[in-house]
Symmetry: C2
Subunit: 238 residues, 2 copies
């Protein structure tokens, strides 16, 4: 059985994994959602040696051995290979990895917008720096990153990066657009028209049967102020 381990109260980085599994309609157990955060803490605590630096991670069987895989891009690449939602063509799969790791870079920068000086400090104690960081992110990084993915989608007739077939890169781009809309509604409203292929990809992911069913279920956690994408109105502007 495939087990996903992630903080149960936020979409966060775990959501990128959940969305691909839900789109592929792959059965999995979302352990901390089912058993509580204590189960996650208890699962992490005895781990020594080579282990996840942080959730999310999955545990599954590989060549007869129980393995633990952390890092979103790594988890998704593995799942795509195991469950057939990658390209099944090595040069194209190498491209998907490159794109997926760039999504991870964006996600890290998004978190750093509201926590620019320290991940363990309160937002309120780093708000002045966050105001400056948010301005840079809105004005420079959003167009640069979204333009990068728009360009990737322009390489082929869409709606997806691989064309007619969705991959984890598309479900991740969906979540990136959703998250940025939640965090920066004014900015996204002002710039989205510049990225028509990205928005078309987002919309095509939203229409996948597995994604529709998931988003209508209570398995899907709404964005909130504890996750990666947070809506602080003072950090947004057109």
């Amino acid at each position: 059985m495939l087990d996903l381990w992630y903080w149960p109260s936020i979409p966060g980085r775990g959501e990128f994994v959940r969305l691909a599994l839900e789109a592929a309609e792959v059965p999995y157990r979302d352990r901390a959602r089912d058993e509580g955060v204590e189960a996650l803490v208890a699962d992490m605590k005895p781990r020594h040696g080579i282990k996840p630096f942080a959730p999310p991670y999955i545990t599954c069987e590989v060549e007869g051995r129980e393995v633990t895989i952390a890092q979103v891009g790594h988890i998704l690449t593995w799942l795509a290979d195991a469950h057939g939602f990658g390209a099944s063509d090595l040069p194209k799969d190498l491209e998907l990895i490159m794109l997926q790791l760039t999504v991870s870079d964006v996600v890290a920068e998004v978190h750093a917008v509201h926590h620019p000086v320290g991940v363990s400090a309160y937002y309120e104690d780093q708000k002045d720096a966050a105001l400056v960081a948010a301005k840079h992110f809105r004005e420079e990084r959003i167009p640069k990153f979204l333009g990068y993915f728009e360009d990737a989608l322009s390489a082929i007739d869409g709606p997806f990066v691989l064309g007619a077939k969705w991959s984890h890169v598309d479900t991740s781009l969906f979540q990136l657009v959703e998250g940025l809309r939640f965090m920066f509604p004014k900015r996204m409203a002002a710039v989205e028209a510049d990225f028509p292929k990205l928005i078309a990809c987002h919309d095509a992911v939203a229409a996948l049967p597995g994604i529709k069913a998931y988003r209508a279920s209570d398995r899907c956690i709404p964005f909130n102020q504890d996750g990666i994408f947070r809506h602080y109105p003072e950090l947004d502007a057109a």
Copy 2:
């Protein structure tokens, strides 16, 4: 022929790729070092569709097709597979990827220490935030990250993550220690004794014939104030 493309004036993220190639004594062309930064700019400019977000990237032939691979962890995983410096055992190789991507996370956080609010702004204009970010990084993140890698190395008789055989994770840990020593000499002097296996791994990498030859050559660029690891004395403390 294997081509590496990276900014020619800094070790930066390119150094993690160079070190693995040099340790493995794999022939490669460091194109912008050989032909100047203009060659790198000219190589990036016409690229459209799915392309690197930023250097470093490599170009090589995969299944008869010319491919471009960006993202340090991705490049190194590919090279390890192609040139035999990975584990050659799938569950172990999955662990190496997890560790390598965590190295990339550390490197991103290191850069954010001196550029907490905007990658495009000058250090001098974000120095106040950098002072706070550096304190958090020194006191919380250095012990947490180095302790994580120490634990990974404790899983096996070393000196390397795989035991007697070096991998790209080890050459990357070498560079991480080197970089942190350059950036935070006081802090590293104060904490290094807590991470004996990590330092032993660093020293074992330094003793590899390919690494010794490389570091004695003019191919190896010293750390400087334009790279990822920068020495601002005001950001360091024991």
